[in-house]
Amino acid sequence: MFVYPKKQHKGVFAVATGAEIMVKCLEKENVRRIFGYPGAAICPFYDCLSASAIKHILVREEQNAAHMASGYARSCGKVGVCVVTSGPGATNLITGIATAYMDSIPLVVITGQVNSWLLGRDVFQEADITGACESFTKHSYLVKDAADLPRIFKEAFHIASTGRPGPVLIDVPTDVQNQPVATWQYPEKANIRGYKPRTQGHALQVKKALAAIAEAERPIICCGGGVVLANARDEMTAFAKKSGIPVCATMMGIGVIPMDSDLYLGMIGMHGRESANLTMQQADLVLLCGARVGDRAVSAPQQIAEKARIIHIDVDPAEIGKNMPVDIPIVGDVRQVLKSLTEGVTDTVPEAWKQKVLDYKNQFPPRGEPREDFVEPRVFIRDLSAMMEDNAILVADVGQNQIWAARNFNVKEGRFLTSGGLGTMGYAIPAAVGAKMAKPHRQVVAVCGDGSFQMAMCELGTLVQTGTDIKIIIMQNGTLGMVKEFQDKLYKGRYIGTILKGGEPDFVKLAESYGIRASFAKNNAAAKEQAAQMLQQDGPYILVCRVDPATPSI
């Protein structure tokens, strides 16, 4: 039966429409920038946005709106906001939302939706986006009444940014955006019965952890993305220094402790440093901090847990015991818990163990030698790292370039951003644009492969249009290197679907057609020189490095 829309708003003395309320709510949350792509179903909102001081950044493909918001959120710690239309706009955004979800990034995602009386009829540009995103949003709303918008926005920002952060989706039908509302008020606080994240670690558990640390002979700290998210870098450094326990990191935990610090052993896992992996395997106590024990970081958690006592600190109780059996769980904000632990801890780590792990570090120095026929990417990343400012932000894409960057870039006071959880190719350029907008005075460099660059190269338009000064490195080896490496090792070198050569543009010309300066480096000496020039210049720059396809990830 077809239900005709009711003229239910007749006679209501309206102070605002739903769309106006949406914009006002964003203003109340101090949102300065919103990344998006318009379409019919979100037009009422866009029309109101034109009257606001909030700056809209037009991306070239919707997925990148979420990546930009994510890069923005990761660099400044605020909630990133993006907006797209219904149907394909919303479905294109899905990969971006899932990327943020896997890395626990706070986003508020607004999607337009078809008129509410048409929902479920498969009309033009209708997609059940709340349903489609159920498994990778922290929470989602399909708004049925504009009067609910203030509460929903308040809740969405609260949920996205507290506890374990994550993306929250608000799907708003066009008629709800147009709906007049007689009265509205932005709530002071969100009050949600079923959502009260715990911040303070349980005192007894902290005490138990301290006792375990005192008894341990071969302890190690494993630092995950949760430490970065909790803004607990200083607390982690203080704890590691006072306790004397060596630190390794997962890919998402890179940058918490500078790579050249004596305490730091490098990244663990499948693509990790030998020093970190060997230490982890021999430890009798592992202190997991904001790390979810993903398979790429810890491939055999059971084996490690058999040899070592495990202390696991996480704000999300469901992470504790999910992938690894835990002896001492501590649920709470990593920053708070580390503070409590630092207060009670003393350095009881045997000197022999400290020496042993330091020896491992020296025994396995970074790999690669400078080359004259190609740019050796690992050497180049170390050169680049030395040239960049201390607080620079490096954004790595996904593939071999990610591993080269993760293993060789020394994060001092800056940041290392990457899609660690979902491993989304094409992440680096949009995320770097978002990061630069959040921190305009910092150097921002994106490292891509030629595969991942081509997934997001449409965003060169966005960065030119917005005048965003980011530098892009393309590691060009004409292949999808990471998968090709798998084919080399596991499939006897039978390459299929991994060769890009023969279909690649001239990246320098491509850049120039956008008015972006670019250059091509064929060996390490040239790359180093051009990178130095690149970093000195104002405005975007693309440096294409010719890389030997035979260069391994690690």
Binding site: H139, L142, G194, D316, P317, A318, G321
Partner: protein, 159 residues
């Protein structure tokens, strides 16, 4: 092993799909799920029976707690709660068998709610085990249809 969870949720649309989706995507096995509004009209209670080991039940509990609309999750302790399941059983029953089926019904305290020349329909409300017993007893006569509602449970005493 079977575990019974009592879950309080916001009485809002969409929560059932969120809970069901969580079970399927995390690979948890739902045995039964029953949902209805509580004494507070803004709150619904779900009684969920899951089949799995301790580790899985712990994960189910934690993952359910992460859902924003979930207010409270309790894993009910064996022996400390009352559980009931409603079922309607339509049995093939020719004239000669009717007396036997009625005897079973009387013995098990099932109510006969519909009679036709070829069928008898029984209404039964008891524990999961007793329901299984009734079904075993009726199986030789042939089932036309068996409809089970899923267990609902309440803790004993003053919890």
């Amino acid at each position: 092993m079977k575990h019974t969870l009592s879950v309080l949720v916001e009485n809002q649309p969409g929560i059932l799909s969120k809970v069901a989706g969580l079970f399927s995507r995390r690979g948890f096995n739902i045995d039964s799920l029953a949902v209805g509004v509580t004494e507070d009209p803004t709150v619904s209670r779900m009684t969920i029976v899951v089949d799995g080991d301790e580790h899985m039940v712990e994960q189910v509990e934690k993952q359910l707690n992460k859902l924003i609309q979930v207010i409270k999750v309790r894993v009910l302790e064996p022996g400390r709660f009352i559980s009931r399941e409603l079922s309607l059983v339509k049995v093939s029953c020719r004239t000669g068998d009717r007396g036997d089926v009625m005897k079973i019904a009387e013995l098990m305290q099932a109510r006969i709610v519909d009679v036709t020349t070829s069928t008898l329909t029984l209404q039964f409300c008891d524990t999961d085990e007793r329901t299984e017993t009734l079904l075993d007893l009726l199986r030789p006569y042939g089932f036309k249809e068996v409809v089970r509602a899923g267990a609902i449970a309440v803790e004993k005493g003053c919890h």
